[in-house]
């Protein structure tokens, strides 16, 4: 029975190869960033920012391109945890904490549970759709539009200000009270819906599914 469960070996390989590849990339990017720093284009803060950003982008690319579904889900952790750091850069501790708890702790675990309940064990390698090239072109074009508009925009120079938890709380419970309550109702409905959806209905059972 044990031999039918390949997960430990896979994890080993994942950790080893992932660790080596990531180390190589980190060293490479860090070198480039430091060179840029010493030339004078960017500051140390930016070096740190871009280091984290490149990690996020690599993770995102991996989660989109990898064939193995388990690897893809694990790769998603990189951008999701990177966002925590980005939020901290922007001075919002509460958001960073919430992001860490919900995404890192909740969503990824949920995804892994879903994987476990489907047929991933039998065939973890997925075949991608036929629109890959078209999708690539469209994604590149959208990226072009976004980047072009960012570079051509007249962005007013400003300094980010950090947001205290007290301010956030008072904003939510005064100005955004009704949306917040509606959000609570929405979550309630989503919870109920997920429950109902996941429950086995007798009349909807397919004939060959065993009880």
């Amino acid at each position: 029975m044990l031999s039918k469960v390949p997960l430990p070996q896979q994890f080993d390989r994942l950790i080893v190869t992932g660790g080596i590849v990531t180390s190589v990339f980190v060293i490479l990017i860090l070198t480039i960033l430091l060179i840029l720093k010493f030339v004078g284009f960017i500051s140390y803060t930016e070096v740190f920012f871009w280091l984290i950003s490149s990690g996020m982008i690599i993770g995102a690319l991996a989660s989109v391109f990898l064939k193995n579904i388990v690897h893809a889900v694990f790769s998603l952790l990189a951008p999701l945890l990177g966002i925590v750091a980005i939020y901290l850069f922007l001075g919002s501790e509460f958001l960073a904490l919430a992001q860490l708890l919900i995404y890192g702790g909740g969503v990824v675990i949920l995804l892994l549970f879903a994987l476990m309940m489907t047929d991933v064990q039998d065939n973890p390698v997925v075949i991608d759709g036929s629109q890959k090239p078209v999708g690539f072109i469209i994604a590149v074009l959208i990226g072009f539009v976004l980047l072009y508009s960012i570079f051509t925009a007249d962005i007013e120079i400003a300094t980010p200000s950090s947001l205290s938890l007290a301010d956030l709380g008072s904003n939510i419970f005064t100005q955004f009270l009704i949306p917040f309550l509606l959000l609570g109702i929405l979550l309630d409905i989503a919870l109920t819906g997920a429950l109902l959806n996941g429950k086995k209905h007798k009349n909807l059972q397919s004939s060959d599914s065993d009880e």
Binding site: T45, E46, W50, S53, M56, I57, A60, L61, S63, V64, V73, L76, L80, I83, I86, F89, L90, G91, S92, L95, A98, Q99, I102, G106, V107, L111, F113, A114, T118, D119, G129, V134, G135, F136, A139, I142, G143, L146, L147, I150, I155, A158, T159, S161, L163, L168, N171, Q175, F176, L183, L186, L187, A190, L191, A194, L195, N197, G198, K200, S206
Partner: protein, 102 residues
């Protein structure tokens, strides 16, 4: 001090990657992952603009909070649907769930 452009560039790149994932993947869970990426990118945008320009109300922060909450709800529901789909058809390949056509 990090300028605003950096955050915007980062979020654009993440958004495009997520977009590509949605278009190219067949597996429902992987599409969901890509959607999560896009939502994360949007969240970065919200918070960046908010903390640079909207220092009175921080509505971007609150919006990002809402996005996080809604994304959580969405993931829960979507996974429920995916499991249901798998239970009915023994697959989570969305190309095979194509009854809604001519």
């Amino acid at each position: 001090m990090i300028p605003l452009e950096n955050f915007l560039i980062l979020s654009s790149i993440l958004f495009c990657i997520g977009f590509y994932g949605v278009l190219s993947r067949k597996n429902a869970i992987l599409i969901l992952i890509s959607v999560e990426l896009m939502l994360a990118a949007v969240g970065i945008n919200f918070v960046a603009f908010s903390s640079f320009y909207d220092t009175e109300r921080y509505s971007g922060h609150i919006f990002a909070l809402f996005v996080v909450a809604i994304a959580a709800a969405e993931v829960g529901l979507a996974l429920g649907i995916i499991i249901r789909l798998f239970r009915e058809r023994k697959t989570i390949n969305i190309d095979e769930a194509n009854e809604l056509k001519w």
